[in-house]
Every structure is written in structure tokens, then in C-alpha cells.
Symmetry: C2
Subunit: 413 residues, 2 copies
């Protein structure tokens, strides 16, 4: 089965927007066992879109086209689909009433230009858009079935999941596949691949994928298209257990595919514990990550971003002597920060960071990438120093934050 | 001039990675006045890459191909380029010595597989890679000049800027264009476009582009390829002034294209002022943004993320009565937070947020999207309430943070 994707829009070929639609669609096709053969990106250029659709219609089985369904004169997709199939545009009554009811639901007046969006090739079948005004449609062109969807990612995804996939399943007799995801921290991608050598021989029916979501690694597992959910699940579980056995348990963040902050949040909620954070070089990133998880007010009490020494001393009760003797970037300082923030907030745990994210501020003794992480709980505190330099301030902040959260995660296990 | 881009790699057509290389290259070509005609994404599939290169070599003038130059057996690009041009692979001596010296500089042993990376088509000219082991190369195929670059974005960008662009300039007699960028906050993209109606007639030589970098709008200006830098600069400055005149001054964040946090940082440094932040619903995002700007320790003293009421009271000296009477999400609370954090940190300014980012926690009286922003300076404090709901926790946090920073920015003007 040859699958191709076409993304249209001047904003894509001018580099103003990165095309995330193609990537999303490719991953969804992979989940049903189809590797996309080619993605094609073209501007809002009638001749070029026409050429691409013609070429593809002679070689692909399934094609998804995104973009160009809006109400303005740049939106040419329906017209071009009609041209390529030597069809004519007519007002599609279903599409018109879908657009009308979209505006009615929002209590808005439908404007004349939106009527254009109901003009579809006469052979096309309308795909309703529940979250926008642009209906999609599908039709045969050459040897392919073409699905035309809007370019707005949110609308496109909804329609692909709810309208296109069910049609593909029915049309080609395909079944949804089972999935499993594992997240790792502290394992280089090449090492992860090496550890899983032999997977293909052992589990020939399953598909294995890696994704580096810095600073994490995601391992994805996909069952073959199955008729029997029970045995499919057993296969997948066996493979997952085999993969888990290949890694140091401490490196496995989640066997359910959660991100570091989601897993930490899950553990804190499960154990009914609260947390306070003292950040220096991570500058609020740890707090931002933890509070990105909905419901974080259940466990997140307080975080202090203390860049200045005064703030470390006044807010976190770090001893002036400690800073004078060791400086801000030191294990002893980090340990006192963690203890101080825990006590200040009345939290069960305190974690802290103090280090050098760069690009400046490093020295021979404490180079860019030096990070001291403190941890405190009732009656106990400790700290550790790491050197983790990725030559980029933003990446350094990310790996510092993940290293700190990982320490908390291991404590919560 | 027809320009096409080819991105290769199984990770791209499986949806594991979004192809940012094509978008980067497209924007760089636009800067020299060339709109990319088509981007093609294919997997590590010998037949498919061969087919794509052949097709393109009959229609494009300039082609950039990324990926497939690594040392493993999936890396097929050089071999395919040789096949398409009916050429043979030979060890390119320059490439070999470049790889060798890369390893020497890093004090690493070069492995046998890296030798493969020095095998290039005999007609190819090597492009040195200063930051990785994979050399690039360029050669004619059909009617096109093909530039082959590694897929690692960092390496690819360096090589494109430093090796490919200069070659294109020389080969086609093209000159670098002058650029100008303006950032706006609080203007919808459609409104921004409407305000600039008539630009094309007034400045027919200049190119205008929009980019929504939520929650900001970027307006980009590009001069035509010029021989005379002085008159080009005057044109660009005139157009920039015209654009600036079309917007409420308060909505213009930077006429130099700085982001909100960069502009706030610039103003704080210029005025030698310091800042402290009290965050509730933004959960550390404001601190994270401000500390992403290198050198932030000059103005950023302290930030407190006070989710719990106890933290608001104990750390920020918010009055218990205020919280009992008005609740955490209220102007009075936000105002006391801003004042408290400023005093605690001994900063010149204090800013604060308290609101409901969602998806839960909203009520009829205070729906999701409600945000109270506090501001304090010596002898003065105030607060304001906004309702800004974008139906997404992460987007709400972003717009809350930007709204708060914008208030500070206006104070600093």
C-alpha cells in the first residue's frame, strides 16, 4: 500500500511555519502499519499543486492533502481537485448545511465567502469539520483515494482520527493496532538501540521505534494489525517486558510512556506527598514543567527562583558563611537550598539546582554544565554535582531540570 | 530560479521527528529572494531517493538534499548520487583528511566505518563539516546543482550558511538582502494584515511577511537583492517606519525584532533596574522566559511560585484576610503578591500572576482564562484582571506570562 502526504500553503515553503501536519499523519499511518512513502510540500500555486496531484494519482493508493480549504482566494484545493479529475465544482448541499449549522451553533452570521467552502467537486464526498468552517472531502483521482483536509492542525487531526481513519479501516479491511510506549532518561539513543539488538528476531511481528525527545528517549512498540485483541496484548506485553529487562531499572522513567514531569506528578499524587523547589540555574523551568501537568496544585506548594545570593540567604535560609566559603554553585549551597525551601513551604520534599547553564559564567574549576542538585526530606538532606554540558543554554537548562526531577522520581519509587 | 528541497530519513516519514530542516532552508532561500517550489520528504529507501533525485534533476535549478551522510548502512545518499549521475564512488582525499582532523581535534580514534563517509562521487566537490564527521558535497545532476548536507540540524545549518550560500551567491551572482523585523503583542494576525493594506503599492520592491509566534506576531521585511547597501537601507527604514505608524505604539514590542523577554531584559539592563516575580498560575514560566536570556543575573533577583495560600502568606506577606475575603485569584491578592515579592527580594519592581490556566478550576464568576496581574514599584502598587482563554493550559500560561511581561515593558519605556 503506497501512502503519500501533500501539505499545501505558502507559509510552509516560505519557512514561516514548520509542517507538523505531515509528521502527525505519518505517525498515525505507521500506527496502522503503513510507512508513508513520500511527503510533498508545495505553496498555494495552482499549477504546482495540480502537477503534484497528477503525479501522485498515478503511483499512490492513499493520499492525504492538507490545506487550501479556507474561504479566501488563496484556497485552491477543491478547484484543483476538480480540474485534475476533469470534474466540475458544485455547491455540496451537505457541506453547505454543515457550514451553516457551524455558524448557527456559534451564534455568528455566516458571510458570503464561506459559501465558497461548500463548493466541492461533484464526485466528492464531504467530510464534516466539527471544529471549523472548512469541510473536507474525499474522492478518487487516478488510482488513488484522496482525502482533502484543512491545514489548521487542530481541525485536521480531529477529522483524520474521526472521519478518515474509519474510512480507511473499512475500505481496506484494516484493524487498529495496539501500542505501548516506554520512556528512558540517561541513556544515549545509540546505546538504547544497541541494548535492543535482536529484537526483530525475537518479536518479528512487532514494530519497534525510537524517538529522542531531549533529554528523554521514547521507545514505541506496535503490534501487527490483529483480529484477536487478547493474543495481541500478550505479544505486546511480552515484548515490553523483554525491553524493560534490557535496561537498568533506574533509567526507566515510565513503562506507560509518561514524561518525566508526568511520572513525578503521578508518584507524588499516589504517595500523597508535596514538593517545594529552589531553582537557581534552571530559572523556573522545573516549576514550569511540574505545573504544566493539570492538577499540579495537589502536590506543588512553592518554588523559589533565587538568582541572587541575597535571595538564597533571605528566602531559603542558606547560611551566609556557606556562600562566602563555597560560592553559589556548590553542593553545600544546593543542599541548604533544598532544605530551606522544604521547611519554608512545609513540604514533604525539597529539591534544588545551582549551576552554570552558560554560555558565559564558567571557569576552569566550574565549567559551563556544572550542576549541583540538592534533595531534602524530613531529617535528611544531600546534594550531588554533575557536569552535563550540551553547548546550548536552553538544552543545558532542560537536562539540569530533568536530572533534578529524576532524583526526586527515584526517591518516590 | 526553481529551488527544491529533499529531506531524507526513515525518522521523518515515520513521524518520529518533525522535519525542521526544510523549513529552515525555505526561510533562508526566501531571504535571498527565492521561493522554494517544492519540498520532498522520503525515507532511507534507495529506489525512492533515486526516483526523487532523478525527477527533480529534470526540473529544478538548485536542490538541497539533507540526511543520509552518516557512517551506517542506512546512509545511502552519496551512493545514490553516484548512481543517478552514472558516476562511481571514490575516496575523496579532502573529505578523508577533514574527517581525520575532526577526530584528531577531539582526541578520538577514527573508526573504520567513518572512512565510508569519505566515499563521494568522483565528480563531487567536498563541503567541509566543522561540527561533525559527515562531510557534505555538491555536484551537477541533470540541469540542477545539488548540495548534499547532513541531516543533523546544527551541522546542516552551519554548512548551509558558511559553505552553500556563498557558493550560490557566486554561482548565480546573487547578493545578500537586508532584513528588518518588528514584533507585536496583542494584535490578531488578521488585524495586523489589514492594518498593512496598501504596503505592496507603497513599497513594491520590498517583501513583507507575517509569522504568528504565539502569543506574538512577527512582521518581517526584506529588501530586494541590492548592489547599493545605502539606498537599500533607506528603503527598508522608510518601510519600517510606515509599518510602525500603522500600529498603536503600545502594541509594538520591538522594532528590532526582539521577543517579549529579550525586550524586557534589554530595558531592565538599560535602566539598571532589578525585578522580582511572584507567580501562581504561570507556574514558573515567567521566570523561565526571563532567565532564558543570557546574562539575566544582572536584573533577575528572585521569583516565587506560590501555588499554595500558605506560601502566598508566608513567603510573600499576602494578608490572610485578603485571601479569606477575596480568594487567591483576585486583584487585591495579585497586588499584595507583587508588593511582597518586590520587598522580599529588595528589587526595583515586582510583578505577579494569579489566575486559572485550566482545563479545570474555573467557575461562572472566575472562568478558565481569568488572570489577575499585579505590579509594584517603590511607593506604588496596582493590579488588573483580564480574561484570556485559548482552550489550552499551555497556551493560556503563555499568554498570561506575556501579558504580565508586557505590563512591565510598558512601565520601562
Amino acid at each position: 500500500m503506497i501512502v503519500e502526504i501533500v501539505s499545501t500553503g505558502d507559509e510552509l515553503i516560505s519557512g514561516n511555519i514548520v509542517d507538523t501536519n505531515a509528521s502527525y499523519l505519518a505517525s498515525k499511518f505507521l500506527e496502522i502499519g503503513m510507512l508513508v512513502k513520500r511527503c510533498n510540500i508545495v505553496g498555494d500555486d495552482k499549477k504546482e499543486i495540480q502537477a503534484v496531484l497528477k503525479e501522485i494519482s498515478s503511483r499512490a493508493d492513499i493520499v492525504v492533502v492538507t490545506g487550501g480549504l479556507g474561504p479566501t482566494k488563496d484556497d485552491l484545493t477543491a478547484e484543483i481537485a476538480a480540474m485534475v479529475s476533469k470534474d466540475s465544482l458544485i455547491i455540496n448541499k451537505e457541506a453547505l448545511s454543515a457550514i451553516q449549522s457551524f455558524f448557527e451553533k456559534k451564534n455568528l452570521q455566516m458571510s458570503e465567502v464561506n459559501k465558497k467552502q461548500a463548493c466541492l467537486p461533484s464526485k466528492a464526498i464531504m467530510l464534516e469539520n466539527d471544529s471549523g468552517t472548512a469541510p473536507g472531502f474525499y474522492m478518487n483521482l487516478g488510482k488513488s483515494i484522496f482525502y482533502f483536509l484543512p491545514g489548521v492542525p487542530f481541525e485536521m487531526k480531529e477529522m483524520f482520527k474521526n472521519k478518515v481513519l474509519p474510512d480507511i479501516f473499512k475500505r481496506f479491511g484494516i484493524k487498529q493496532r495496539l501500542r505501548s510506549k516506554i520512556t528512558l532518561f540517561g541513556v544515549p539513543e545509540s546505546k538504547a538501540a544497541q541494548n535492543l539488538d535482536g529484537f526483530e528476531n525475537k518479536f518479528p511481528n512487532l514494530q519497534l521505534g525510537f524517538r529522542a525527545a531531549f533529554p528523554m528517549i521514547e521507545i514505541k512498540l506496535l503490534s501487527p494489525a490483529i483480529t484477536d485483541n487478547v493474543s495481541g496484548k500478550i505479544d505486546l506485553d511480552n515484548a515490553r517486558d523483554w525491553i524493560l529487562s534490557k535496561f537498568d531499572v533506574a533509567k526507566i522513567v515510565s513503562d506507560k510512556g509518561l514524561s518525566m514531569e508526568e511520572e513525578v506528578a503521578r508518584l507524588l499524587i499516589k504517595k500523597k506527598k508535596t514538593i517545594a523547589v529552589a531553582e537557581s540555574c534552571t530559572g523556573g523551568l522545573i516549576s514550569h514543567l511540574l505545573t504544566d501537568v493539570p492538577g499540579s496544585s495537589a502536590y506543588f506548594l512553592f518554588s523559589a527562583v533565587t538568582y541572587s545570593n541575597e535571595a538564597k540567604i533571605n528566602i531559603l535560609n542558606v547560611k551566609q558563611d556557606t556562600i562566602v566559603e563555597y560560592g553559589a554553585v556548590h553542593q553545600t549551597t544546593a543542599e541548604e537550598m533544598a532544605k530551606g525551601v522544604m521547611e519554608k513551604a512545609g513540604a514533604d520534599f525539597g529539591i534544588s539546582t545551582s549551576g552554570i547553564a552558560g554560555p558565559t559564567g564558567g571557569s576552569d574549576e566550574k565549567p559551563v554544565g556544572t550542576i549541583c542538585i540538592g534533595f531534602a526530606k524530613k531529617g535528611f538532606s544531600t546534594a550531588k554535582t554533575y557536569c552535563l554540558n550540551f553547548n546550548d543554554r536552553a538544552r543545558n537548562k532542560k537536562i539540569f531540570a530533568a536530572t533534578c526531577l529524576n532524583l526526586l522520581r527515584k526517591e518516590l519509587l
